[in-house]
C-alpha cells in the first residue's frame, strides 16, 4: 500500500480518515497496525478489501498492490472478487459478522459453492476440514449448527475458518480478539500465529493491544490521525521508540512489576479529524513539542537505521533518549 488517502464526506465537511499511509507485508510475516480508535487503521483495511461504503467514503489517492496487481484501478466488482480469492478478512465481532440465519457450514463454504461450483457434499467435507483446522471440537456435528449456538471464542474460530476458506495468501485480522475475554484472546492469537506459520501467509493484525503485538508481530505500524507515525520491527519499536506517540503508548501499558504506581496516560484526546491541528497532529499532546511542530506541514517521514521510519522532527533524539 502506498500513500493511501481515504476521505469521508460528512455533514460538517470532508474528513481524511487515512492520510498518506504506506505499508507492506511479506508472505509469512506479521504486520501489526496499532493506534487509537479513529486513527484510520480499520478504514485502511476496508479500503484494501474494497468494502468502504462510497459515498460517504472516497479513496482520494494512493495505490494498493497485491503481488504487483493494482487493486484500486479495478471495478468494485473485480476488486471484491479478486480479494475474495487472495485476501481473507477476520472481523472484530464474530456474532455480528456471521449471518444468524444460516448454518456455520453454509457460511464457511458459501463462496466455494457460489464461485468455485462446489457440490453440497464437497462443501460439507471442506467445512469440516476448515473447522478442524481452527480446532473447533466435534466439527462433524457443529458444522450444521447456527452461530448463536457457539460460544464467543468458537465463533471467532469460525470467523477465522471462513476467512481461510479460499486459501488466501494474506489474512487481515481487524481486532480479532476485542470482543473476547482474556484467556480466549490468548487462544485465538496463538491459533492465528500457528495457522499463519503453517501456511506462510502474510498477516495484517489491526489492534490496539500492544501486548498482543509484542508476542506475534514482526513489524509494527503505529497510526495517529490517519498517518503512520512510526514503522519499525517490533523489538526495535518497543526497545527504542522513535516517535513520542509510540513512546507514550508504551508507557501507558499497565505493568505487573510496578504495582501501586499510577497508570501513565497520554494527556488530551485524539484530534477531531475535521480540525486536525496544524503541524504535527500529535503536538498538543506531545511532551517534546517545540515551535517547529506547531506550524506548517506535518513532519516528514524520517528514515532511520534498521529499516525504520518515523514522522517526527526529533525522531533521532527520541530514539536515542530511550
Amino acid at each position: 500500500m502506498t500513500d493511501l488517502v481515504v476521505e469521508f464526506s460528512t455533514a460538517d465537511g470532508v474528513v481524511r480518515a487515512v492520510d498518506g499511509l504506506t505499508y507492506s507485508v511479506d508472505a509469512g510475516r506479521t504486520l501489526a497496525i496499532v493506534g487509537e480508535s479513529g486513527s484510520g487503521k480499520s478504514v485502511s483495511s476496508l479500503a484494501v478489501m474494497g468494502l468502504l461504503q462510497s459515498p460517504p467514503a472516497r479513496i482520494a489517492g494512493g495505490s494498493i498492490r497485491f503481488n504487483g496487481t493494482e487493486l484500486l484501478t479495478m471495478s468494485r466488482k473485480q476488486h471484491r472478487a479478486y480479494c475474495g480469492e487472495h485476501i481473507g478478512m477476520v472481523f472484530q465481532d464474530a456474532l455480528a459478522a456471521l449471518n444468524p440465519v444460516y448454518t456455520v457450514g453454509w457460511q464457511l463454504t458459501e463462496a466455494l459453492r457460489a464461485r468455485h461450483g462446489f457440490s453440497r457434499r464437497q462443501a460439507r467435507t471442506r467445512a469440516i476440514e476448515l473447522l478442524d483446522m481452527v480446532k473447533v471440537p466435534a466439527a462433524r456435528q457443529r458444522v450444521s449448527e447456527y452461530p448463536h449456538q457457539f460460544s464467543g471464542g468458537m465463533r471467532q474460530r469460525v470467523m477465522i475458518a471462513m476467512a481461510l476458506a479460499m486459501d488466501p495468501e494474506v489474512l487481515i485480522a481487524d481486532e480479532p480478539t476485542t470482543a473476547l475475554d482474556v484467556t480466549v484472546q490468548a487462544q485465538i492469537m496463538t491459533l492465528l500465529a500457528e495457522i499463519q506459520a503453517e501456511r506462510q501467509m502474510g498477516l495484517i493484525l489491526i489492534t490496539h493491544d500492544l501486548g498482543v503485538v509484542a508476542t506475534v508481530a514482526d513489524q509494527v505500524t503505529v497510526m495517529y490521525a490517519g498517518r503512520a507515525v512510526e514503522q519499525a520491527p517490533v523489538l526495535e519499536a518497543y526497545g527504542s521508540p522513535a516517535h513520542p506517540y509510540t513512546k507514550a503508548l508504551l508507557q501507558s501499558i499497565p505493568r505487573l512489576d510496578r504495582k501501586g504506581g499510577e497508570l501513565e496516560v497520554i494527556p488530551g484526546r485524539p484530534p477531531d479529524l475535521l480540525a486536525v491541528p496544524a503541524g504535527c497532529p500529535f503536538h498538543p499532546r506531545c511532551e517534546r513539542a517545540e515551535d517547529v511542530c506547531r506550524t506548517g506541514a506535518p513532519p516528514p517521514v524520517v528514515e532511520l537505521p534498521g529499516g525504520r521510519s518515523a514522522a517526527c522532527h526529533f525522531a533521532q533524539e527520541v530514539m536515542t533518549d530511550a
Binding site: 461504503q53 471484491r80 480479494c83 481473507g88 449471518n99 447456527y146
Partner: protein
C-alpha cells in the same frame, strides 16, 4: 418445534374462546338495550305474542335473561358453544343456514384477498427493496413520498373516487368498444358481478392492497437498510461474493424476518378494509355480509361471521409465527 406449535395452537384456541365470549356479551347487551331482534323478522307488521315467542324460540332468543339488563346470559352462551362444537352454526333471520351463506360469500372474499396479498407482496417488496437499494437517491425519496401519499388517502376515498369517477366512463367506453362481456369492460365494471367473480374483484383488490402496501414498503425498506450496513453483510462481501448474491442471500433473506411478522398486522388491517371495500363495491363476501348483518341486527349471523373471521385471523397469526420460527433459527430453541 412440536411443542412450540402446540403452544401456539392452544393459545389460538383460548383467544378464539375469548373472542366468542366477548362477542356474546356485546350482542347480549345490545339485545337487552334495543329489544328483541326477532321483531325484525316481521318487518313492518306487528306480530302477536304467540308469533313473536315462536320466532324468538327459533333463534334462541327466548331465554328470559335477554330481558334483564346486565345479565351475562351464560345459559345461551353455553348452548351456542355446544351447537358450534356439533357443527351447527344456526340460521339467519330469514332462515337460511349460516354455513351455506358463508359458503357462497367466503370464496369471493378469498378472491379479493388473493389480489390484495399479491399486490402487497409485489408492490411492497419491489418498491421497498428498490428504495433500500437506492437509499438517499431520487428514487428512494419518490417511493417514500408515494407511500406517504397512499397513507394520506384512506381506502374508502380511493374506492369512492374509483367507483364514481373512473369506472363509469371507462366502463361505458369499453362496453361500446369491446362489448359488455369483454375483459376490459368487466375489469372496470362499477360493481361486483357474481358471474365473473375473479375479474371484477381485481381492481378493488389492487386498491385495497395498495392501501396496505404503504406501511409494507417502509417496513421492507427499513428492514433491508438495517442489513445493508450490517457487519454480516460486510463479511459476506469480503468473501468476494457478487453484490447480487449478497443482496438475495444476506439482505433480502435476513430482512424477511421482520417483514413476515408485519404480514400478520397488515392482514388484520386489510380484513377491516375488506368490509369497506366489499360494501362500496357490492362484493358479496364476508365483509359485505357482516355489514348487512349488523344493520339488520341479525345476531346469529354476526356472531357466526365474526367467529369465522376470528378463526381466520388466528390461523394467519399462527402461520406467521411458524414462518417466523422457520425463518429465524434463533427462535426455534426457545
Amino acid at each position: 418445534m412440536g411443542r412450540y406449535v402446540l403452544r401456539r395452537v392452544l393459545q389460538g384456541i383460548l383467544t378464539l374462546f375469548l373472542v366468542i365470549f366477548l362477542l356474546h356479551l356485546l350482542t347480549t347487551f345490545a339485545i337487552q338495550l334495543n329489544g328483541n331482534p326477532a321483531l325484525a323478522f316481521f318487518g313492518d307488521r306487528v306480530p302477536t305474542q304467540a308469533q313473536l315467542s315462536a320466532v324468538s324460540a327459533r333463534f334462541g332468543l327466548d331465554d328470559p335473561c335477554y330481558n334483564q339488563l346486565g345479565n351475562p346470559c351464560f345459559g345461551p352462551f353455553v348452548n351456542r358453544l355446544k351447537d358450534y362444537l356439533s357443527g351447527d352454526f344456526g340460521t339467519n333471520l330469514r332462515g337460511r343456514e349460516i354455513t351455506s351463506i358463508v359458503a357462497t360469500a367466503a370464496p369471493n372474499s378469498f378472491r379479493l384477498f388473493l389480489v390484495v396479498t399479491a399486490t402487497w407482496l409485489v408492490v411492497g417488496m419491489f418498491l421497498g427493496s428498490t428504495a433500500a437499494r437506492r437509499r438517499g437517491k431520487v428514487v428512494d425519496h419518490g417511493i417514500r413520498g408515494f407511500s406517504v401519499m397512499i397513507d394520506a388517502l384512506p381506502v374508502f376515498v380511493m374506492l369512492l373516487v374509483y367507483r364514481y369517477v373512473i369506472t363509469v366512463p371507462v366502463y361505458t367506453w369499453a362496453k361500446k368498444q369491446f362489448g359488455s362481456d369483454s375483459f376490459i369492460a368487466l375489469l372496470f365494471k362499477p360493481s361486483f358481478d357474481s358471474d365473473h367473480p375473479m375479474i371484477t374483484v381485481i381492481i378493488p383488490g389492487i386498491l385495497l392492497g395498495l392501501a396496505g402496501s404503504a406501511a409494507f414498503i417502509r417496513l421492507v425498506r427499513a428492514a433491508q437498510l438495517e442489513n445493508y450496513n450490517s457487519d454480516h453483510v460486510r463479511a459476506a462481501r469480503s468473501k468476494g461474493l457478487s453484490e447480487r448474491h449478497v443482496r438475495v442471500f444476506h439482505i433480502v433473506r435476513n430482512s424477511s424476518i421482520p417483514v413476515a411478522t408485519a404480514v400478520g398486522i397488515v392482514f388484520t388491517e386489510a380484513l377491516a378494509g375488506a368490509v369497506i371495500t366489499e360494501g362500496v363495491m357490492n362484493i358479496y363476501g364476508m365483509g359485505g355480509l357482516l355489514w348487512n348483518a349488523v344493520r339488520d341486527s341479525d345476531v346469529s349471523l354476526i356472531i357466526g361471521i365474526v367467529t369465522l373471521l376470528a378463526i381466520v385471523t388466528i390461523v394467519v397469526m399462527i402461520l406467521v409465527d411458524l414462518l417466523y420460527a422457520a425463518l429465524d433459527p434463533r427462535i426455534r430453541y426457545e
